[in-house]
């Protein structure tokens, strides 16, 4: 036990002596929390529309005016043919081509219905579908609000059609701001980087430099050496987590709705699981470069499949299975539930069991493999 104390003393001395690591401990949570929620924003804004108006009536003028007023759309051009409009899209100056047929106003008044053609650049799938839906919504609203009197007067039958009006309420994030979605996710990112990367690299560094040889000929026990490596990063992870919570409060005014102790409990267990993962990586690699690549490979998969950026529910079944097999997924879910919904322990007890299982399995595997290889 006393020897473990000396090992910890040495580790902290080395970590604190490394200026870059020290700077990163404070810079990483602050900068990531400030930049990422603003940058990683899925709101679709500033969709460029090019209009091919064959009608040139007052009605189409009003419709286009309404389109531009919403703030989501910017009319970047008005041309006379579809082919010309497509060139705008090719030059990346427009996302949507809206074509209004000739005699649009006259036919609408006469028949009560008219068609508008929308061609959407779908290279960015999300932007295309969300933007298209917005545009549809605005046109529908326009046609209902403005022209109902004319159209219905001409066709009384249409007035009798029952209309189901859907209204909705957004809970837990009433203004649908992405920062509430992203900030808890970034806590996960921070802890994952500390737990997964730093521990793996640190242990492999000892292998690479050869200091592990010198340690191995001393009477020090394996568990003492491993604990001496993992505990400092566990503590650092919790410090970074705390800094992250403070930054979230100061910059965004986000305070956890659920109990703080529950967040810390999960963070503590999650870190143990990730440190075990880092240790496991280090047992399989002989150099820091190998460890980097291995860790990076798994981290990318963990991150992209964890539901940090895209909802796991919309993944195919096989992807959901893989996603459930990473510790990151459960932690992302819990931290959002606790911070935003205020879930209590009872709501997340199963996730807690998962995290415990990950911590036990990863560490046991790592320690077993560590014995075998040295």
């Amino acid at each position: 036990m006393k020897k473990l104390g000396f090992l910890l003393q040495k580790e902290f001395r080395q970590i604190l002596r490394d200026r870059i690591i020290l700077a990163m401990i404070f810079a990483m949570p602050t900068i990531q929390l400030i930049i990422l929620p603003l940058a990683a924003n899925f709101e679709v804004k500033d969709i460029k529309v090019v209009v091919v108006d064959h009608d040139h009536s007052t009605l189409t003028q009003r419709m286009l005016g309404k389109l531009g007023a919403g703030g989501y759309f910017r009319i970047t051009g008005a041309v006379s043919s579809y082919a010309e409009a497509l060139r705008y899209v090719e030059r990346n100056e427009a996302d949507v081509v809206m074509e209004i047929p000739a005699d649009f106003e006259r036919n609408l008044v006469r028949e009560g219905r008219q068609q508008v053609s929308l061609s959407i650049d779908a290279i960015n799938g999300a932007r295309a579908s969300i933007g298209g839906a917005y545009l549809n919504y605005i046109i529908t609203e326009f046609s209902q609000g403005t022209d109902l009197d004319v159209a219905r007067a001409a066709h009384p039958a249409a007035a009798g059609t029952p209309v189901i009006n859907v209204t909705y309420n957004t809970w837990y994030n009433p203004r649908e701001q992405y920062k509430y979605y992203m900030v808890p996710g970034i806590f996960v990112l921070l802890l994952t980087l500390i737990g997964g990367f730093m521990s793996a690299l640190n242990i492999v560094k000892e292998k690479e430099i050869g200091t592990i040889e010198q340690i191995n000929v001393t009477p020090i026990r394996k568990w003492e050496f491993i604990s001496g490596k993992l505990i400092p990063f566990w503590i650092m992870g919790l410090i970074i987590f705390t800094i992250g919570l403070l930054v979230a409060y100061v910059v965004y005014g986000i305070v956890s709705v659920g109990p703080l102790w529950l967040l810390y409990l999960f963070a503590a267990v999650y870190l143990v699981a990730l440190l075990g993962f880092g240790l496991l990586i280090s047992t399989y690699s002989a150099s820091q470069v190998q460890a980097m690549f291995l860790a990076f490979f798994f981290m990318m998969i963990f991150m992209l499949m964890s539901g940090l950026f895209t909802a796991t529910e919309s993944m195919p079944a096989w992807a959901r299975t893989i996603s459930a097999l990473t510790p990151v997924t459960h932690f992302v879910k819990v931290i959002r539930m606790v911070m935003l919904k205020g879930s209590g322990f009872a709501d997340v007890r199963w996730e807690f069991c998962y995290e415990i299982a990950f911590a036990v399995v990863l560490n046991a595997w790592a320690v077993f493999n560590y014995r075998k290889t040295s």
Partner: protein, 308 residues
């Protein structure tokens, strides 16, 4: 009780494809300064790693101070000091921190065993707050020796401690080893430098994982079975080629500014015969003399016998 015993140790790598140590047996007496002499890749480091409990041999057994390297590895680690060939201390810790750290791992302090490292550490003291990575080569080596000694080991293993060290530091280092030996520490040292062999009490000549001879350096030199001649001419390379064509010459190799030669049969006029042969081939500035063989001559002779 012998300090170190190796009995039929065999070690292979790459699943048995590479034979590193081939059935090696040797003993080191308590308080002895024993040298493993051999070129790079002879298996010296593998033998060290088996003895320092870092590596398990495929076959054979080994003991250090009577303790088995496999069964009693925990107890062996308390009593051995190991200095690997590659500098492997923490470069980002200072001289003093490194020493303090290794002392604590053995449950001791710098003060408790200061006597044993005093002479070496005094030279390091002016740099005690410098990071180990910033030391010169000779200083690093002294620090590594201090760290290997700080727990007062009974047996000291030094793997090629003088490789890459300048001539003055090498001599200093061997003086330090002599002092440590006088304190009663058994020392097993490996080196690729034949000239260092004579500084050991006993040596083992090792080549391609096999021990060729074990004895005191003087004995090994004395056991050289034939007369050895040195020859020189203005065109030394031409002379080497010509001498190898001489049917009376058994072996001929370059050794510094001379060629070393042995004859197939001992004759009283060997010097005259060699001189005459060289003159016949048109060499100038010829010198031929009989010399006393060194360790390297023995090594080369044994090596040639093995390969034939």
């Amino acid at each position: 009780m012998e300090a170190v015993v190796l009995d039929g140790i065999t070690k292979t790598y790459a699943g048995g494809k590479v034979l590193a140590v081939d059935n090696v047996s040797l003993t080191v007496k308590p308080g002895e300064l024993f040298g493993l002499i051999g070129p790079d890749g002879a298996g010296k480091t593998s033998i060290f790693r088996v003895l320092t409990t870092l590596l398990q041999a495929d076959k054979g057994s080994a003991t250090v101070q009577g303790l088995d390297v496999v069964k009693d590895y925990q107890r062996i680690r308390q009593i051995l000091g190991y200095m690997p060939g590659k500098f492997s201390l923490y470069q980002d810790l200072t001289v003093e921190e490194n020493l303090h750290f290794f002392a604590t791992l053995f449950g001791t302090t710098i003060e408790a065993n200061y006597g044993i490292i005093r002479e070496i550490y005094e030279q390091l003291k002016p740099f005690k707050d410098r990071r180990a990575g910033k030391l010169s080569g000779g200083m690093k080596q002294k620090l590594a020796l201090c760290c290997a000694l700080i727990h007062k080991p009974e047996v000291l293993f030094l793997d090629e401690p003088t490789t890459g060290v300048d001539v003055v530091s090498r001599r200093e280092f061997w003086d330090m080893l002599a002092r440590l030996k006088s304190m009663g520490i058994t020392i097993l040292v490996s080196t690729p430098y034949m000239d260092e062999a004579s500084l050991c009490e006993r040596i083992a000549l090792i080549q391609a994982g096999r021990i060729m001879q074990i004895d005191a350096p003087e004995q090994i030199v004395r056991s050289y079975p034939v007369r050895l001649y040195a020859a020189k001419a203005d065109d030394i390379y031409g002379l080497l080629k010509d001498m190898r064509e001489n049917p009376a010459v058994e072996s001929c190799y370059a050794f510094g500014e001379y060629l070393h030669l042995t004859m197939k049969s001992e004759t009283a006029d060997a010097i005259m015969a060699l001189e005459g042969f060289a003159r016949e081939r048109g060499h100038t500035g010829i010198t031929v003399k009989e010399i006393a063989p060194g360790i390297e001559d023995t090594f080369i002779r044994l090596m040639n016998q093995k390969t034939q």
